[in-house]
């Protein structure tokens, strides 16, 4: 065995680099964070071959003096931790993104680093290079106020690391991801990202109040669709504030990747968010669909520990339950307020499809229309105005006034006043309008003040039945089957205690259990709705939920699965003819029911086409 000796500074830095700089994207993250901490208004990022050959970050922030520049590249040197009177640094009071003083020396240890910087006091810039840990000297250089950092040949000093890099495309993607996350949280800072000569991102500083600015930044990154389908979130609990935007359930994705959480401006990845979001959207989405959310948490820095890992993307909350409750509550609230609103992308997709099918119509003029002949002949087969729906509808609406004999004369007079029907006019003012007819015994078509609404009758009714069941359960409680042979479930660690502590909540969900000696619980009653079930499995899942998410999700999900199956069987099928009264009743109930805009699987229950959209279809706009 060799003698024990201290590691050299270079080796220490290379080891630290292993944690801080895992791949080009992590170097980019550190550098951009520094630029943000420096109070920059514009940050420009350039990468070449995924950041392997070159990373350049230029900012217009405060810059550094020549002396500071030299210290900045030393390990554990930072300007960001505050000291108290006794000179002690407070790790619990961090309001910058950086604080560990590790980034610059780490990058310098594994790459060729060059920093050009100028602070407000200096009239020329200074430049310093560090190559594979070897420090150069500070030299005067030309440059504007702010800092420009170049990292070339990343990992040239640690070739083993190079082997682990992914393809250039994947590394570039990771860089772009990192920049996007930081840009979301700092909407007033302008960002640009260039890869080689490709411009990947160009985000001007966002204007307006906090919400406006955020929304415009978010849509700059996630596309305008997001803005159109996002619900504003704004909630506060015990001094913790949550703001941001949550996507409508119908605006969903196949992965949970588009869920962003920022804690005091720091992008974090946290299971807590995933769990909270899952809990809040549980009713609205199939298990494999995920909503898009961007949430910003502002919390006293003393109540959150960001120093969990060198990459600083994990955080620990002192009161995770509070944060989780805040997120779930705020999301549910936003969703409840959204009521029956479904995503506009749905209408847009539909429109797109129509337009694709009738290429001629978009250019104005009936000449190119495949339905041409029908049009020319006039109204015998088809009346191309709102009275068409009217006519068709009245054929199925025995209770409404007999249709006017206007098959011929109505043609072309789209503005023709409808039969005087006060009730109908009043209904038209309602969000989902008045039912005008049913198509294919599946879709209800309704006229609103400024458009038409098409409702999928089965999906809509299923949702209504489901919501009614949930309401009944909330009002009357769940029927519980008592067990003739109670089931004892052995659990690991303190899971039994955790379950027992939540016994009351569980009982509300129909699940009665109590502690049974050390490390076990005995289950005495189960929700009758679930029939005969695998009690052991459910108890284990519940214990896991309580550990991870602090909520009994498995049980709720199980109950809601059953409810939605029952709802599905208990609702009007496609293919059933509805009377006018039934259709209007359906529309009114949808308006009155929260969450009726999407079915239990996150598909829309209706789409709305505005007149303006329809006019576009016909090339009138």
């Amino acid at each position: 065995m060799n003698k024990v000796r201290r590691l050299s500074e270079g080796t220490i830095n290379r080891i630290a680099a292993g944690e801080v700089v895992e791949r080009p994207a992590s170097a980019v993250k550190e550098l951009v964070e520094n630029a943000i901490d420096a109070g920059s208004g514009q940050i420009d990022i350039v990468v070449v071959s995924g950041g392997r050959d070159l990373i350049r970050v230029s900012d217009d922030g405060c810059g550094m003096s020549p002396e500071d520049l030299l210290t900045a590249v030393e390990r554990h040197a930072t300007s960001k931790l505050k000291q108290d009177e006794t000179g002690r640094e407070d790790l619990h009071d961090i309001d910058t993104l950086g604080f560990r003083g590790e980034a610059l020396p780490s990058i310098g240890a594994v790459a060729r680093l060059s920093i050009t910087t100028r602070d407000a006091a200096a009239d020329t810039a200074s430049k310093l290079t560090v190559e594979g840990g070897t420090l150069g000297s500070v030299e005067p250089a030309a440059g504007p106020e702010g800092t420009r950092i170049e990292v070339r040949d990343l990992f040239f000093a640690t070739p083993a690391r190079l082997k682990f890099l992914k393809s250039e495309g994947a590394e570039t993607q990771a860089v772009s991801d990192v920049v996007k996350r930081l840009a979301m949280a700092h909407e007033t800072v302008g960002f640009s990202l260039t890869s080689g000569d490709r411009n990947l991102l160009r985000l001007p500083p966002a204007q307006g109040d906090l919400f406006e600015a955020r929304l415009s930044r978010l849509s700059g990154i996630m596309g305008n669709d997001f803005a159109a389908n996002a619900l504003r979130v704004d909630a506060e609990r015990e001094g913790v504030r949550l703001t941001g935007y949550a996507g409508l359930p119908t605006f969903n994705r196949g992965t949970a990747q588009y869920q962003y959480l920022f804690v005091n401006g720091r992008p974090v990845r946290d299971k807590l968010l995933t769990g909270a979001v899952r809990g809040a959207y549980m009713d609205f989405l199939a298990r494999n669909r995920h909503p898009v959310v961007a949430l910003f948490l502002e919390i006293d820095p003393a109540l959150v520990d960001v120093n969990v890992h060198p990459a600083k993307t994990e955080v620990r909350f002192r009161d995770a339950g509070l944060v989780r409750g805040l997120i779930v509550g705020a999301l549910r609230q936003a969703l409840a307020e959204a009521g029956h609103r479904a995503s506009t992308t749905v209408a847009e997709t539909a429109l797109g499809a129509i337009q694709a099918e009738f290429p001629g119509s978009a250019q104005g003029g009936a000449a190119g229309s495949p339905a041409g002949s029908g049009w020319q002949d006039g109204a015998r087969d088809w009346v191309p105005s709102s009275s068409a729906l009217q006519a068709h509808a009245s054929a199925q609406m025995p209770h409404q006034q007999a249709p006017q004999a206007d098959w011929g004369s109505g043609f072309g007079t789209s503005a023709r006043v409808e039969p005087e029907n006060i009730q109908s006019q009043a209904l038209e003012a309602r969000p989902l309008g008045v039912a005008r007819g049913q198509l294919h015994e599946t879709y209800v078509v309704a006229q609103t003040a400024d458009g038409i609404v098409i409702v999928d009758q089965h999906a809509a009714h299923e949702r209504l039945v489901y919501e009614r069941m949930k309401e009944a359960i909330a009002a009357n409680g769940l029927t519980r089957q008592m067990l003739l042979i109670p089931e004892v479930v052995e659990l690991e660690g303190d899971a039994a205690d955790r379950l027992a502590r939540r016994a009351e909540d569980l009982a509300e969900l129909g699940f009665v259990l109590e502690k049974f000696g050390e490390g076990a619980v005995v289950v005495r009653e189960t929700p009758a709705l679930l029939g005969k079930l695998n009690v052991t499995g459910l108890v284990r899942d519940l214990a896991d939920d309580l550990t991870e998410l602090d909520e009994a999700l498995s049980l709720k999900e199980r109950l809601e699965d059953v409810c939605s199956t029952i709802a599905c069987h208990g609702s009007v099928r496609a293919g059933r003819r509805l009377t006018a009264e039934e259709m209007n009743a359906l529309l009114r109930e949808m308006e009155a029911t929260p969450h009726s805009g999407q079915c239990n699987h996150g598909r829309p229950t209706y789409v709305e086409l505005k007149l303006a959209d329809i006019e576009r279809l016909f090339g009138r706009r």
């Binding site: 009614r468 009944a472 009002a475 009357n476 029927t479 519980r480 089957q481 008592m482 067990l483 003739l484 042979i485 089931e487 009653e525 009758a528 709705l529 679930l530 029939g531 005969k532 079930l533 695998n534 009690v535 052991t536 499995g537 029952i566 208990g570």
Partner: protein
């Protein structure tokens, strides 16, 4: 092998054995039925490795031997042959089995009989006999309460054992953790000393089908791990569930002092009627008992409520208790006599139900909290 057999006889035997064969098999030969010809008999064997059914039937043996072929396919073919047809089965050199009847001719892929898994019953030290009808009754009375939930695997069967705290009995018990059914038959000679065994659900179902048609005696052999039933030309051998049946006697209350006597048939009809109002699987029926009458109620927040009153013999304090309607109907379906008695304690404790004049079967049902 070469045999000729009348279609009806073959169909009956095939029908008996083929239902043991699982629809999907990863081991191809388990889809097959083993056919062996010898001594004037055709013997058919099917197995899923847990249960084996062998049935022998008289046939015209042209040449002794044996082979295996798909049980379900054979059964389907024979089923579609005309009544009274003579079926000739031959196994060829080419690994195919030929079945010929009239002008129909089928060539089926065969697998060698040596590859067919044999199930050895081993030693069956406890042997006894009982009437097929009595065995059928033990099964009928308890089968409905067998659990299908697999984590408590030891509840996935009927617990067959002897009890001696009165006249010695052979007892069958099944429970799914919500209700329990128990049926007794006077202990047959030779059964004394047998271990308590759990007969798996699938075995119970097969056995029930087979004994239904049987009028004679069933010979039963039991060891710690296997059970065998022999009757008619059939031998059914099954593995037992390797587990401990819970001490069920503890959940059968002794001190229930509120007795209600009711006409079992009328009760079942009333439960059936009032539960129409709810479509839920887990619908609850509320029973309100007071002096001389029983009121059944089902409420469904969506569609309304239903009540029905029945005259009963009841003289204890008024009591309200809720049960799963399905469970009540299951039990009511088992009561044969016209008078059933419910012994109750309170709304949160198990209730015992039985025929007034039949001590040999009882049911225990746990209430619901509504």
């Amino acid at each position: 092998m070469k045999i000729t057999i009348e279609r009806g006889a073959l169909l009956k035997s095939l029908n008996h054995v083929q239902s043991v064969v699982e629809r999907r098999n990863t081991i191809p030969i388990l889809s097959n039925v083993l056919m062996r010809a010898g001594q004037g008999q055709l013997s058919l064997t099917a197995t899923d490795l847990d249960i084996e059914v062998v049935e022998a039937t008289t046939a015209d043996i042209g040449q002794e031997g044996g082979t295996t072929a798909s049980a379900h396919t054979l059964y389907d073919i024979v089923r579609k042959l005309p009544d009274g047809a003579q079926v000739e089965i031959t196994d060829g050199e080419d690994g195919k089995l030929t079945l010929q009847a009239g002008r129909s001719r089928f060539a089926l892929q065969a697998l060698p009989q040596e590859d067919f898994p044999a199930m050895s019953a081993g030693d069956l030290p406890h042997r006894f006999e009982m009437p097929a009808e009595a065995l059928g009754r033990l099964i009928d009375k308890t089968r409905f309460a067998i659990s299908t939930e697999e984590t408590r695997y030891y509840l996935n069967g009927i617990y067959l054992h002897m009890v001696e705290d009165g006249a010695p009995m052979l007892r069958a018990v099944a429970t799914d953790g919500h209700r329990l059914a128990q049926a007794d038959f006077p202990l047959p000679d030779g059964a004394a000393g047998m271990p308590g065994v759990i007969v798996p659900r699938k075995t119970v179902l097969e056995l029930q089908k087979l004994v239904e048609e049987e009028e004679g005696i069933v010979r039963i052999g039991v060891s710690d791990t296997k059970i065998r039933f022999e009757f008619g030309g059939v031998v059914l051998t099954s593995k037992l569930i390797d587990g401990t049946f819970p001490d069920y006697t503890r959940v059968i209350p002794e001190g229930n002092d509120k007795d209600m006597e009711v006409d079992g048939k009328k009760f079942a009809e009333a439960v059936d009627r009032v539960s129409t109002i709810s479509t839920e699987r887990s619908r609850a029926v509320k029973l309100n008992m007071e002096e001389g009458r029983l009121i059944l109620t089902v409420t469904n927040p969506d569609s309304g409520s239903a009540t029905e009153e029945l005259g009963v013999a009841y003289s204890s304090d008024a009591l309200e208790i809720g049960f799963n309607a399905r469970y009540l109907l299951d039990i009511a379906g088992q009561l044969d006599g016209d008078k059933a008695v419910f012994s109750l304690a309170d709304s949160g404790s198990p209730t015992v139900i039985r025929d007034v004049d039949d001590e040999s079967a009882l049911y225990v049902l746990m209430p619901m909290r509504v």
